[in-house]
């Protein structure tokens, strides 16, 4: 076998695979092998590459699907842009820096996305700040601390958080969590109100339709996402390193601090960025929880307001006039670019680390 391999395709690294057939799930070799068996019996002549119509068609299909997916992402950007341009051209306000949103096509469009963008980023970052340490803890718990036998069911429980539809998070947040949080937010507002973050905002604290509530719900939604990826990375910490640390007399925590955390840091940050992307785009939960407001966003957790996604969803039923819809599509484009950048950044962190694969 290895004979015909090397003869048939001199360039192929067939030798390397000789002795240990069963072990490595090496992904390289099947393409080179596909050609020689046609001429397996006659090792003298270099075999012709036989292309069967079935192979051609099938390959074309798979390549086509691949191209389709790549085209899709470009199409999303292009279509949103095309639909947004007429409205942007008619816009009487500065789109990127305007703070008021008036997309009523009859009155003349004057929409600026800045306030929406600020609320979007502010609430997502707030959620991330809560979710990051907790997910780190969970991931460490599941990979390093939990008893081996329980680790899997425990991980399943955390994954369940991801299975709950966001609309149910929204309902829970608005009708159950918001009233329950109101004493906390009132206390924060009374005692720490001098910090702009906790200043009195545009939303009534007793009702609780604040960024504070929305952020906490978002944080809960982020937990399973950040945890799942961090867990995978932490699990791949080379056992040699852990054993080495243990041999040096390190406590469990020191093992984690000196081996697991440095090894997994990039993965953890990447996971958090992916979570951020998710929080930026979350729609229905935010829509249900946040109250809308006519005032500008004041950088307080107790403000109401709208994120880009919730603003679009709020107006979804009124997308009949193409120009009005165009304004929302323009906002959607901003959200698309934002999540694109965040996700691409997250991937670029992790792709530099070959040891994770």
């Amino acid at each position: 076998m290895s004979d015909s391999d090397t003869v048939g395709r001199p360039g192929a690294p067939g030798l390397a695979r000789g002795p240990r057939g069963g072990a490595a799930p090496d992904t390289a070799p099947e393409a080179p092998i596909s050609t020689p068996q046609g001429s397996g019996g006659s090792p003298v002549q270099p075999p012709k590459v036989i292309t069967r119509p079935g192979d051609k068609i099938f390959k074309a299909l798979t390549v086509g699907s691949g191209v389709f997916v790549v085209a899709m992402i470009a199409l999303i950007g292009i279509f949103l842009l095309i639909q947004a341009i007429p409205s942007l051209a008619d816009n009487q306000a500065n789109f990127l820096f305007g703070r008021d949103w008036d997309a009523d096509p009859q009155g003349g469009l004057a929409f600026g996305v800045l306030d929406l963008l600020l609320v979007t980023v502010f609430s997502a970052v707030f959620a991330l700040i809560i979710a990051m340490p907790i997910s780190l803890g969970i991931a460490l718990f599941l990979t390093q601390y939990a008893p081996r036998r329980l680790a899997r069911p425990f991980a399943y429980l955390v994954d369940l958080l991801a299975a709950v539809p966001s609309i149910i998070y929204g309902l829970w947040g608005a009708y159950v969590l918001a009233p329950a949080l109101s004493p906390i937010s009132t206390w924060l507002n009374e005692h720490l109100g001098f910090i702009p973050l906790f200043a009195t905002g545009t939303s009534n604290l007793a009702i609780g339709q604040t960024i504070f509530t929305a952020g906490i719900v978002l944080a809960v939604m982020l937990l399973p996402i950040i945890t799942a990826i961090s867990r995978e990375v932490f699990d791949r910490t080379p056992p040699m390193q852990i054993e080495g640390a243990l041999a040096l007399g390190a406590t469990k925590w020191e093992v984690v601090r000196t081996t697991v955390l440095p090894f997994g840091r990039a993965g953890y940050i990447s996971a958090s960025m992916l979570g951020l992307g998710r929080a930026l785009g979350e729609t229905i939960a935010v829509l249900i929880i946040l109250s809308s407001t006519t005032s500008h966003f004041g950088f307080s957790l107790f403000d109401g307001g709208d994120t880009i996604a919730s603003k679009i969803a709020r107006a979804a039923q009124e997308f009949n006039d193409p120009r009005g819809a165009g304004a929302y599509i323009a906002a959607g484009l901003v959200l698309f670019v934002l999540t694109f950048v965040v996700n691409a950044f997250a991937r670029s962190i992790i792709s530099g680390h070959k040891e994770y694969e």
Binding site: G21, T27, P29, E30, Q37, G38, G40, R52, D55, I57, F58, T62, V63, G66, F68, V69, V70, M72, I73, I76, F79, P133, I134, G137, I138, F141, L142, Y145, V158, L161, A163, V164, P165, I167, I168, L171, V176, T227, T251, K252, W253, V256, L274, R278, L280, G281, T283, I284, I312, A313, A316, F319, A325, I329, G332, F336, V342, N343, A344, R347
Partner: protein
């Protein structure tokens, strides 16, 4: 181990040194904190499930709930069911799967079997990563811009399915890719050795080997997209009647029913919303269980 260090100190220095108090404290603290975060994460899960079940479980026990629509009932009349929404949810999810799965599987096949490290493969991997991060509202807007403004289609359940396709493709590509990667190369080689064409090898050997995992992945992906609300909000109207036609008219689905009935502020509306929440969670759970059941039933064969 021993605490009275001064009195019976051994002649030779010990091989293992005592862990001093501050290190021990830090270790203990870290353990408590780490375990604490886990408990903290479970709190909202338990709280949420209890809330939903306490508020909605009583309504789904009624047989009518599963067999009738809300047709002809005003928002002050109890009764009826969410059959129309269940149908919509399943129909939209299945249509989405029918479109998304072939594409996604082909993309995964391309990545594992053909693409390798080519430029296109890198681009595809990158795109799939980005696609998995596209917010559902953006996917919905895209389909809106494409189908409804540009192509002039009416709002319909089919448009919803198309938007869900965008959300489902990356999930299925990912799982399929992982599974195809772990199909042992020996299987491929054996097939090639027998003169089987590459495409047939993939279709008859590689994919079937990974099939159980792929189906599990698909079931989970369907469960995921069925809970999406943003696309139904933008792309289809709500109705209280049963509608089997994905191309025409309004069609309810459980998330849409919940956002619509949320506007009914009395006990009737609450019953419908929380009942639908329980129903949605039940359906998603069934799909999840189905997924693990399939993998359990079929994985025996592969060994």
């Amino acid at each position: 181990m021993s605490t009275a260090t001064d009195l019976n100190r051994p002649a030779a220095p010990p091989a293992f040194q005592e862990i001093n108090a501050s290190r021990r404290f830090k270790n203990r603290l870290a353990t408590i904190l780490v375990a604490g975060t886990f408990v903290l994460a479970l709190a909202p899960l338990v709280w949420l499930l209890i809330t939903v079940i306490a508020k909605g479980f009583q309504y789904v026990l009624n047989a009518d709930w599963w067999q009738k629509s809300l047709a002809g009932l005003t928002s002050r009349q109890f009764g009826g069911g969410v059959y129309h929404a269940i149908v919509g949810t399943l129909l939209q999810g299945l249509i989405c799967a029918v479109i998304a799965v072939p594409i996604a599987v082909m993309v995964a096949v391309y990545l594992v079997e053909y693409g390798k490290r080519s430029r296109l493969a890198k681009a595809v991997t990158f795109t799939v990563d980005i696609l998995s991060g596209v917010p559902s509202i953006v996917a919905a807007l895209f389909i809106y811009a494409l189908c409804i403004t540009t192509l002039g289609m009416p709002r319909s359940a089919f448009a919803v399915s198309l938007a869900l396709v965008l959300l489902m493709i990356p999930v299925v590509v990912r799982t399929t890719e992982e599974l195809l990667k772990i199909v042992p190369d020996e299987l491929r080689e054996a097939a090639y050795a027998l003169g089987v064409p590459k495409w047939k090898t993939i279709v008859k050997i590689v994919i079937p080997t990974a099939m159980s995992g792929i189906i599990t992945g698909i079931t989970l992906a369907i469960a995921r997209v069925m809970g999406e609300t943003a696309p139904v909000l933008v792309l289809v109207g709500y109705t209280t009647f049963i509608n089997y036609d994905p191309f025409g008219g309004s069609m309810a689905s459980l998330p849409l029913l919940m956002t619509s009935e949320r506007l009914t502020t009395n006990e009737v509306g609450e019953a419908r919303v929380w009942g639908a929440a329980v129903t949605l969670i039940l359906i998603i759970t069934v799909f999840n269980l189905l997924g693990s059941l399939i993998s359990r039933l079929t994985s025996l064969k592969t060994k």
